[in-house]
């Protein structure tokens, strides 16, 4: 039976060369999450696919579905994020975002929200004065979308409302312990002390009051400290450290 060609839209996250002139690439698509494709002859300079099949390209793809590798027939770029591609630091940050989005996506599962988040941040990060804040919001939102939202208002052990004070963050539970519960649970996994400002920043992000963040007089150091907290939580959720973390100078 002849298989009908299909259409998909998504962001190319990684490419590898295969055989003489082919390229294999991964795409985070709207409807089917992570998808793998083969683009035959894409390495040849005369190929109509060549320039479009690059990491960090948002593309429309027309392909022939297959059990292993879907075979690409046509590709059309929607956005190539040229502002990011012309800046070394932004390339490194974009690679981290793509790796995180990949780690949070699955095959054959709808990923439209992850893709929307990813395209959103990639479209605006070059204009941002605090790109680390944009990434922190992305990290926070992607965890929430995948059901790993961080508990910021109540203690993860006794459910009591947290008072305004420094609290310890449990990376494997993904939330804060109140001072009383910390004493009895401090040996359970990695605990990181979070300042009142750090907690306040995360709470503002969780309420989506992004406009309020302007009043916070945020500095990079404060954002970086909060990002480290979330990143350790991500590491515990996915079970491995993302490779790109070591290159992102946070």
């Amino acid at each position: 039976m002849k298989i009908a060609n299909k259409y998909s839209k998504g962001l190319i996250t990684r490419c590898t060369n295969y055989k003489e002139a082919d390229r294999i690439f991964t795409l985070i698509s709207e409807e089917e999450g992570l998808m793998k494709f083969i683009a035959r002859g894409a390495k040849k300079p005369s190929s109509k696919l060549s320039g479009h099949i690059e990491p960090l390209n948002y593309v429309n793809i027309f392909y022939k579905p297959s059990k292993s590798l879907n075979s690409v027939s046509q590709v059309q770029s929607i956005d190539s994020f040229l502002e990011i591609k012309n800046n070394y630091n932004l390339i490194i940050k974009a690679q981290y975002l793509m790796e995180l989005a990949e780690a949070m996506s699955s095959e054959k599962e709808e990923s439209s929200f992850i893709l929307k988040l990813l395209i959103g941040i990639l479209s605006g990060i070059h204009k941002s004065n605090l790109p680390d804040l944009d990434i922190l919001i992305f990290e926070f939102e992607i965890l929430k979308t995948q059901g790993f939202g961080i508990r910021l208002f109540e203690c993860v052990n006794c459910d009591q409302k947290l008072i305004k004070a420094e609290h310890y963050f449990s990376t494997n539970i993904g939330g804060f312990y109140c001072q009383k519960c910390f004493v009895t649970n401090h040996h359970q996994g990695e605990m990181i002390r979070a300042s009142i400002e750090q907690q306040s920043l995360l709470r503002t992000i969780s309420r989506k009051n992004y406009k309020d963040l302007i009043n916070y007089n945020l500095n990079t150091k404060q954002i970086v400290a909060s990002r480290k907290l979330i990143q350790k939580s991500i590491r515990d959720i996915i079970g491995v450290q993302l490779k790109t973390i070591q290159f992102d100078d946070i």
């Binding site: 996250t13 990684r14 490419c15 295969y18 055989k19 300079p45 005369s46 109509k48 060549s50 320039g51 479009h52 690059e54 990491p55 960090l56 390209n57 770029s77 956005d79 190539s80 040229l82 591609k85 800046n87 070394y88 390339i91 490194i92 690679q95 981290y96 793509m98 790796e99 490779k243 790109t244 070591q246 290159f247 992102d248």
Partner: protein, 207 residues
């Protein structure tokens, strides 16, 4: 009798594992290659093994340009000592250097990085032969560096990293990169935004 690979003689199992370690060779292809070696005549197989042994025993990468050399003990290979070191073309791989060399366009020396920066694959600048390049530039002989990394995301990132390092530390060295734009034989209709943007930026006068 046990099934699968464990029932095979140890020598064949070792050969399959050895073939699987090669890039692009999966377990099935490794098995096929191993059975081919078994059926091949002894002389041809020994020729292959001798060639592999000679490559590893006699060749190494030059300490200066990181190209292939058969002079393991010298700091300079025959290749980089005979080339004009005032102009160094920096490439990702040995095969890129050979391709440019075959075209006879570049008369200067080469420097092979042995890869490109790729955070998603865990490859950072420290894994490339950048330190060797800096050491070479400290001699003061070089007047121009031509960055000829691939026009991919990784290649561009590597080029940008190199240009930052070189321009910060060697203000007298001219930094250039290979032109980006439309390739011969392509259709404008199918060009991507990056290629088109580069082609417009680097357009040339027809006077």
């Amino acid at each position: 009798m046990t099934s699968g690979r464990s029932s095979l003689p140890l020598e064949v199992q070792k050969l399959i594992i050895a073939f699987s370690s090669l890039p692009g060779i999966g377990p099935k292809t490794a098995q096929r290659l191993s059975y081919f070696v078994l059926s091949q005549n002894k002389d041809d197989t020994l020729k292959l093994s001798e060639a592999l042994r000679e490559v590893k025993e006699n060749l190494d990468f030059c300490k200066t340009c990181c190209f292939i050399t058969n002079d393991k003990n010298s700091d300079y290979c025959g290749y980089c000592s005979e080339k004009d070191a005032t102009q160094i073309c920096v490439v990702e791989n040995v095969i890129d250097a050979i391709t440019i060399e075959m075209s006879s366009i570049h008369k200067g020396a080469f420097h092979v990085l042995h890869g490109a920066i790729s955070p998603m694959n865990g490859i950072g600048p420290e894994k490339l032969k950048i330190e060797e390049l800096i050491k070479r530039l400290n001699n003061g002989e070089t007047k121009e560096i031509i960055i000829a990394t691939n026009p991919t995301l990784e290649g561009e990132a590597t080029g940008m990293y190199l240009s930052k390092i070189i321009s910060d530390n060697f203000q007298n060295i001219k930094l250039t990169k290979l032109a980006r734009g439309l390739a011969s034989g392509t259709d404008l209709e199918y060009s991507d935004f990056n290629t088109l943007s580069n082609a417009f930026e680097n357009r040339t006068s027809m006077d």
